[in-house]
Structure formats: structure tokens, C-alpha cells
Symmetry: D2
């Protein structure tokens, strides 16, 4: 457990994940585009680096947890990117929600240096990350998976192995996020249907989570949707837009319509057009209420 690990991206997910690794005894070199996020980690022995390239050791392990394709591409292949340094036997443990085609492209770029790309995006919000309760959707070369398994154990409560294709972990993550986002739309329509017909949102939510929807997803989002509390984002609405756009793009590339994703996309566009990008992504439900003539603002 004394291996030094590079960690790039200290946002609302990356920070608690890095903390779990420190707790588990790993030495960390961390990097974040905007400096200053690492303060607490530095006190516990992490070292903050000035570039992605400095964050990795040849043949080492580097974790990335970033907002989108562009950010991941920059830290990997851009100026001061880490791919060139990572070199032979290095592992890029790529935990962000990014597009399958970027994953394939990065995997190829790493292969040219003798390094391995592992897709390892996660299910769970920041509280789950802090508790080491993430679910990890893993794909890539078997030997590399074996080497990172103690790190995954430190961060997650379970790992799903999706085979060797470096894109599959990301595809599964997009599929899961699609199910989540579309369920929020459906849930919001259901609660608003109840409300418009005389049943309170909270009462309807409890009825559902006490019966057919007794799953963590529906307890968590049901609480937010029933109370209509959207101001403490676990996952910002603007990030939800990025996700649904990746989902739609991946669907379109594979030639399939995703009409439920269109509904979500449109809700998120309207929310952004109305200036709600900093609310939690569940705030897409405001559009459902407003379309029903219920004033929320």
C-alpha cells in the first residue's frame, strides 16, 4: 500500500475519493486545474503538482476524475499532459463520465507508450464517495485491473467487470446515468400528477418508495423531488446536460432513438435557459411543474 498514486481532478467527487485513498495509506500526488482545492489533502501528506505530467511516475498509476471529455483529453494528451510520462506499464484509471470514443482514443494513445487505460467510472453521489460506497464500472486489460483492485476497494463497495474493451465501462455508466435521469423525469411527472389531483408529493413519494420503488435511487431523489429542494447540488444541472448529451450522441452513433433521453435533454435546456444551471440536476422537475401551471419561482 505504499505505491504513490497520481490523482487529477479534485471536484465534488474527486476530493472525497482522494481522501479515501489517503485513509487507505496511499501517498498521493494531486493536480487540479484550479489550484487551492487540495488544501485539506496536503495537510494529510498529499503533494500538489503544477502539471498533469508531474503528477505521474513512469510505470505508475494515475487516476482522473474530471468534468468532461475536453478536460480529460487535455490532462492526458495536451501540453504538459501525462500520457508521455506514464510510459511502459503505467495505468490510467479513468473514472470520469466521458464518451466511449474518447476512451477508445486514449486507450490507443496510451498503448503506443506501453501504458494501459482502464475505464472505471462510478455510480454514486459525493456522500457515497466520502463513505467509500461507490459502485465502479470497470473495463480494460485484466492484469491492470488486478493491480488497481486495492485502490478500487478503498473507494467503492463493489466493482462490475465489463470485460476488456476500454469503452464498455463508460457505456455502462452512460446507460446507468440515462436510467437515473429518465427516472427523475418520470418520477417528477408522477409526483406532479398526484399533486394536481389532490395527493401531496411527499405522500405519493412515500407510497411509492414503500412499495414498488423501494430502491436507494428512489429514496434519494424522491426526497429531493417531493420537497422540491434543489439548491444544494449533489450533481449540478449543467453536468446533467453534459451527460445526457453524451448519452444522446452515443445513442445516435449506434443508430438508435432515445425518446426518453430527449425529454430529459429538453427539460435541462429549458432549465438552463431559465438560469438554473447551478441547481441540482433534479431541478429539471421544475419544468414538469411549470408545464402543469404550478408556479415555482
Amino acid at each position: 500500500m505504499t505505491e504513490t498514486v497520481g490523482f487529477i481532478g479534485l471536484g465534488s467527487m474527486g476530493l472525497p475519493m482522494a481522501r479515501r485513498l489517503l485513509d487507505a495509506g496511499y501517498a498521493l500526488r494531486v493536480y487540479n486545474r484550479t489550484p487551492g482545492k487540495a488544501v485539506e489533502l496536503l495537510e494529510r501528506g498529499a503533494r500538489e503538482m503544477k502539471t498533469p505530467a508531474e503528477t505521474v511516475e513512469p510505470g505508475g498509476i494515475v487516476i482522473t476524475m474530471l468534468a468532461n471529455d475536453a478536460a480529460l483529453e487535455t490532462v492526458t494528451l495536451g501540453e504538459h499532459g501525462m500520457a508521455a510520462v506514464l510510459g511502459a506499464d503505467g495505468i490510467h484509471l479513468s473514472m470520469s463520465t466521458v464518451s466511449p470514443h474518447l476512451a477508445r482514443r486514449l486507450a490507443e494513445a496510451h498503448r503506443a507508450h506501453g501504458s494501459h487505460y482502464l475505464a472505471a467510472p462510478v455510480l454514486g453521489r459525493p456522500t457515497a464517495a466520502a463513505a467509500g460506497k461507490l459502485f465502479i464500472l470497470l473495463s480494460g486489460m485484466a492484469a491492470a485491473k488486478h493491480r488497481v483492485s486495492p485502490l478500487l476497494e478503498a473507494m467503492g463497495q463493489g466493482t462490475h467487470d465489463l470485460g476488456e474493451d476500454p469503452a464498455q465501462g463508460h457505456i455502462a455508466k452512460l446507460a446507468a446515468n440515462f436510467m437515473i435521469l429518465a427516472s427523475i423525469e418520470t418520477y417528477a411527472e408522477t409526483l406532479t400528477f398526484a399533486e394536481k389531483n389532490g395527493i401531496g408529493r411527499m405522500e405519493m413519494m412515500k407510497l411509492l418508495t414503500g412499495t414498488i420503488l423501494n430502491a436507494p435511487l428512489f429514496h434519494l431523489y424522491g426526497e429531493l423531488l417531493a420537497k422540491e429542494e434543489y439548491t444544494a447540488p449533489g450533481f449540478k444541472l449543467a453536468l446533467g446536460l453534459k451527460d445526457i448529451e453524451l448519452i444522446l450522441e452515443t445513442g445516435a452513433n449506434s443508430r438508435m432513438p432515445l425518446p426518453a433521453a430527449d425529454l430529459v435533454h429538453n427539460r435541462l435546456l429549458t432549465a438552463l435557459a431559465k438560469g438554473r444551471g447551478k441547481l441540482d440536476m433534479t431541478a429539471l422537475a421544475l419544468g414538469v411543474s411549470e408545464d402543469a401551471g404550478l408556479r415555482r419561482e
Copy 2:
């Protein structure tokens, strides 16, 4: 437990529910429009009657479990209907999925005779009915609820009390069915998205039900959707159409759009146009696969 109870409607749900009441020691008078469904019940002491009117005793309890508004209206207010016989202090325990406005109309009609209408539609498929594991969504007058509670205990694992308005139980039922139907659409899109991008339907289903979707609803339907086995209907597609039309009508009457319900409605119409009315309602997923260019027939 020696009260005689009338039971009208011995379909795939009504039959196992009636069986549960016999098990609990109730004497039953049963009626079904198409005769012959009651054979097994008769062997266990139930009496088959020739009209709805004969099925009830003045001041007694009558349960209805029928396919749609028209059937419920006929047995209640039609020729040989039971409302006129039920009389003072009688209770109509109305367990079908019907429209809130019919519920209100019947409640008023019963009130004129001194009887009470209780909404008590159920969540659960035939296997749950057979096991006495239904969830019951109850609304109506408190005293009447008290009197029927032993019957509800014989049929269900839990009762949600939605107040005095005789429509509320039905509204909650429609809301729940909407959530179920829309989740099937979303789930089918998710599994097909995975399939089109190289992840098996079964693998994706297990990943989801092992993490965020660990609820009975998603295990049950996930199995059907992953295997694409639609030929043993727990709930026929044509009945799903009836439900979604009640949901859309109730939404429209309360002036709200339900775009996720429109998606389901359109899938069901296409399935019926293609002659799939006798498949399970999850067969709406065939439309998702076919739109993605996957041939199923």
C-alpha cells in the same frame, strides 16, 4: 369471519384474491360475466350467482375487480346491477383500476342508497395476489374502512390510507401504474442502448438491479425485458393501453402534459397495430428494439 362477501370479477387478479378470502374463512357469493371461471372456488364452498344483484346482501360487502370503467359501471348501475340491492350500510369495495371520475359518480350513486364506496385498487401482479402480498391503496369513509380491514389483511401485505375522497385511491393507483409503465419504457431504452453498444441486456440489467435499481419492480421487469420473454402475460398489453389512457385522460382533465406517458401510449398503440395485444405489457419494449433496427419477429 363468518360474514358473506360478494365478489364480482374473477379474472387473473380477482380469482387469486377470492381464493385468499376463502382461505381466511369468508363465505363468498361470486359473479363473473363469463361463467365457468369459478369452478375451483365452488368446490371450496363459494356460491356462483347469475347476476351482480344476486351477489350482494342488503347491508353487506361486495368486492369488484374488473377490467375497466364500463364493466364496473354495468355491474353497479346497469340492469341487474348491485347498487340498488346493496342498500343502507352496504359497502362497495372497489379494487379495479378505474377512472377517478367514475369513482366519484359511483360513490354518489351509492350514497343515495345509504351505502359506501371504498376505493381500494391494488399494486401487484397475479403471483402477489395469490400470495396475499398486494399493496392496497385505500380511500373513502373511515367507518367503512374499519369494517373491511380484515378482508384487506387477507389479500394484502399493506394498506395505504389516502383519506376520505373516494377518488384518491384510484388516482394513487394511476400514478403508480404510470411510474411502472414509464419505467418499462426507460428501462427498455437503457437495455437496448447497452445492447447496441456491446453490453448484453442481461448483464446491464444485473448491473442496475445490483446497484441503483435494487427494487422489486426492477428485478421483476428486468428479468422479462432482458430475456425478452413476453408470451406469458402477467398483465396484458391491451390492459396497459387502458391504464395509460386513464392516466392521460386524468392528466388532461387536471390540465397537465405527461410526455413520458405519451411515449408509453405510442409504444402500446404500435404494439397493438402490430397485433401484440395478448403479449405481456412489457412487450412495449419491442418497439424500442425495432426502432433501433433490431429485428425481433
Copy 3:
């Protein structure tokens, strides 16, 4: 031209149509549920009657121009309805937008009395009615069509004969209204797309109507949509809802999805939920603008 004609329904369409018949020399007996609409017609020789039944002569011609199925059924078959009086060789020239199945039912009811039902709904707004410029979508028995042709000439600029089935005229009318309503949605999205990207609504409208959309429909609605003037209804939004519901119901009965109709339906429901029922039906465009974050109120 001396035949006495009954005219039932003096709304924004019926009144100018009746006026055209007076201009053409017909004697009219008129009826409107709410009295007082006929004042101007009475000055020109029309006689106002107290019931639908009084409005017709045995073997005569009666025109109906009413808001919906319920109103048409009432004046025809309800108490003081005209069907019983119309009798042998009478003609019911049914010009309202109503459901095909009501048309079939009324045709049968009339047939029992030896009368004929002609479907003859119209394309055109009140200004077209006033100018005798309606298009008439006619179906029913050939001999009856021949007898009413001078009346149709007085009211319209052209008649499309859709055969003998009394429902076909109404189906064609619903199809045309669907095309109109869906075009308003599409047009509104197009103009708002232009506006959001820096091209004025009026400029975009003129570009389109000067090129690919050089048809009366697009000039008329383009003007309203570009100026966003919805307060002088040619056709009220609440009537638009009735139409789209007939369209969706007819589509569903024939087992076909109509997703573009769902979009319109949802826009109209939202408009009504926001209290816009008295605006022109083009005001469904407000929802397009609001979803794009443009404030209109």
C-alpha cells in the same frame, strides 16, 4: 332558392355562414342555445326558434355548426332534438368538427327516420366564412349532396367530395386540423430558433413565406406568430384542445401513434393550465418561447 333552411349554432363560424345563406336568398329558421346571437339575422328576415326541433321542417334541410360532440348530439337526439322532426327525405348538413364515430351514430339514427346525414365540415377561419371562401369536406349519400350543393356554393369556394361514408368528411377535417396545429408548433419552434440565434421572428417568417411556405396557411399564422398577437382569437385555444383530443382519439382508435399531435396536445394543456384558454390557439407558441427561456408574460 326559396327553400327554408334550419340553422343551428350561431357562434363565430355559424353566424357569418348563416349570413351568407341570407345573402343568397334563403329563408332561415335559426337556433342558438344562448339566445340573442341572432339579432342581426332577424333584422334580415331570419326567424329565431326556441328549440332545435322547431328549427326543422319535415323533409327539410338543417345545418348544424356547433362546438363539440356533446352539443351536436343534444340538438340532434336530445330532448327537443331535431332528428325526430326531420323525418323522411330530410337532410342534416353537419358542418361542425366532430368525431367520426358520432357521425356514424347520427347517420344511423337519421336513417331510421328516412333522413340523410351529410358530413360537411369546413376549412377556414371566421373571415373566410364571412367571404364565402370556406372549403367544404363533404361525404354522404349522392342524392343528398346534389340537393345541398347551392347552399354549399353560397358558403364556400370549393367542395371536396369524400364519398358515401358519413364519417369521411370529418376524418379529412381532423387530418387537416392536425396538419394546421402541428404546423403551428413547428413554425413556432422555427421562429423561436431564429430569434434565439439573432434573426427576428418577422424577418424569418417573411423569408419562409416568400420561399418554401408560400401558402395561405403560413401567411395567416406566420403573421400571428411573428407578432405574437394572440388576444383576438379567430379560433380559441380551448377549441384547439377539443380538436387535438378528437384527433388523438381517432388516431388511437385506428391504432396509430401521432407524436406530433402529442406535442400540440401538451402545449395546449400547458397553455390552459396557465389560464390562456381564451387566447387564439396560436398562443400555444408561448410555450415554445417560454421553454427557450424567453419571458412573455
Copy 4:
């Protein structure tokens, strides 16, 4: 009229447009990525060049008519691209359907060399191009517009001036194409609604184009949709997908939902998933028919 003009892109639109310029007396240097398309033009004096760079003269005019953003970017800024040669006072007359943001980027790149970018996409199919009957949607610097006006007159029947912003012509083009594509969807739903209810597609089409839809767009597409003849593409389905994706992307960038565009997008994805990419874009209507249970294959 003796100026030499560069013409890049000799597809189904570019070829007849180039022919019009030869007819008008212009000397042409032509380039097409796949050689051999220019044969007929060479016989009439055009010179075929080997690279985009050779196609232009310093300070000259070059027209581009290409399939998509990538192709336009390549011939302009790629290896052997023409931007560097075009130089001071050169004009790039950009007639393809491309994204507004590429237009802005190219305009800037040209400006750095002292050249001008004019957006000039066109409305019209190949037959209109051959007849010089295109409508041209022009934006960019006034002086440059003046210089190209004789060329535009040779190719089009009218020009709409959308101001100085080099993106506006392209935005207007996308808006118009959106209106066309969404009208095809709506039209197809309307004709199929008629067909499912007993009115022939051709009869319904003639009724509409004889009344409310008496515009070239609806005659042209109505003929194709009524006959369901999709095998002689004026505009291939795969190109329709490109257009609707540009429209959705431009809408999303400006933060607005375009639900009617989603419908079209989904129809086109399904058509491609079913292997229909080489049919005319109106073949999206096959999805409407199939969803209604009508077999077309």
C-alpha cells in the same frame, strides 16, 4: 463576366450550380475530392484542379458546396486548403449547409488573410439548382455581397440579405431546413392518419395542397409521400441526419428545446438503423407507417 471563379464541391447540388455559372459565361476552376465528376464541365471549358489551393486565385472568388462541416473545414484550412492562397480581397462564397460556429471560425480565419467570408446557403433541390431557381440566404460584408451578386443571379431566383454576421445565412438555412423536415414528419403523420381511417394518401394530399397547403414545399413532398416513392433521392436521408443534428446542436447551444426536431431525428436514426440511408430523406415517413402497423418492406 470574365472573372475566373473557383468552385469546390461537385455533388448533386454543386454540379448544376457550376453549370449555371458556365452558362452565364464564367470561367471556372473546379475541384472535387472524388475526381471524375467534372467531365461534362470540362467539355464546356472548366479546368479541373488537383487541390483546393490551386482552385483559387489571389483576390478571387471561390464557391464551396460541400456535404458537411468537416469537408468545408478541410478544403479551407486543411493541407492544400485554399484560405492561404485566397489572400487580400478574396471572397469565399460558402453555400453549403454548415454550422454557424464553423462559419464564424472560417470568417475569422479568412479575415486574418484580408479575405471575406460570405454565407450563402440555398433553398431548393437539384432540379431547382439546374433551373437557376434557388433561393439564396446571404450574410456577410456588404462590399463582398455586391461583388458576388451577378453570380448569385446566375444561380438563384432570389436572395435574402440577412445582414453582416457571417453566421446568419447559415442559421436561416438551418431554420428553413428544420421547417421542411418537421413538415415532412407532420405531413407523413397526417397522410397515414387519413390512410388508417379510410382516405387514400393521394386523395388527402390533393385535398391539402388544393386548400391550406398550396405551397411548392407541400406539392413536392406531398407527391413523394403520397406515392411513397423514396428511391430517387433529391436529398439523401443520411444528409437529412446531418442537417437535423446541426439544427439540434445549434438549438442546444442557444439553450432551447426543439421537440419537433427530436421527432425527426429519431425517425432518421431508425431509418438508418434499418439500412435506409440511401433513400430520399422523405423516407423518414416509413417509420410513421410502420409504427401504425402498416408494412412497407
